[in-house]
Amino acid sequence: MTLHDLIAADAVTVFTSTDDFAEVITYYPHRYYGEAARDPRSIKAVVFREQIQVLTQDGDTVAPVWQIHVANHATLGITSEELDLGGDQLEFPPRDGKPAETRTITQLIGQDHGMLILECR
């Protein structure tokens, strides 16, 4: 098995293991006009919660930000090819123990063959 393969395998079995730090959240792919519907699916992710950012144009208005680590995977995560930063959303509890809410994926912070690091607001 090559290092390339190991990175991809570890992303699913190690880095997004729900026995450790990951949890199951829901991915809602954006449907663009005329495209076939893509169903939402459950994926595994590590969620770094509510890092507050101030929106400077808004004076004191704050915007909670979540950083989500998912496998670059077609079923257990999200592939970098299918990701659409113009409407894809994730549903997860905004704070541990609270009911899940839907948040828009606003930025692809980092990517490699194994993992995607996403920003949600």
């Binding site: 144009q57 808004d58 004076g59 409407g87 809410e101 920003e119 607001r121």
Partner: protein, 170 residues
Amino acid sequence: MSLVAAARPVSERIACELFDRLQLLAAQYSVYTPVSEVIRPTRMGGYTPKHLQVVLTQNDPEVNDELGCPGNPPATAFNLLFNIRCHVMPSERDTTVVDEIINTFDADVIRVVTDASIYGEMWYTLGGFAVNAEFQTRESIDADGSFVGFNLPLLVTYRTDENNPYNVRA
């Protein structure tokens, strides 16, 4: 008669009037800009960014000494800057030029706030609560690259009793 003649201070009634006008964009006011929703954020935001979404916020009011009036009680004038944040986050598969979306969105926001056929020629009084209102220079929102759009500031000047911010003064 109660000193507080209305349920909300003048600044809040202006904000509500502006919010109501912007909400027309989410009710098929323009076929070019089908706004998804208009938001006034809560303390923690309370919304998630979407394509063609409008977020209305405001800066702190500043006293406008020149437009204050003597009297009993005297009237205090304020400048209040509203930020009309317009989010433009089209699908990555949308081939429309993003500047075209922004230019159209910008024009429709100005049109819905100033529409003489709805509000008359004195749109700038925002329902009779303001002395003046004027749009400022459009600002891009793309600092951190996470989502784009623009902010369209609207500077509103209004007057109240010095001792009663609920009462509009002409």
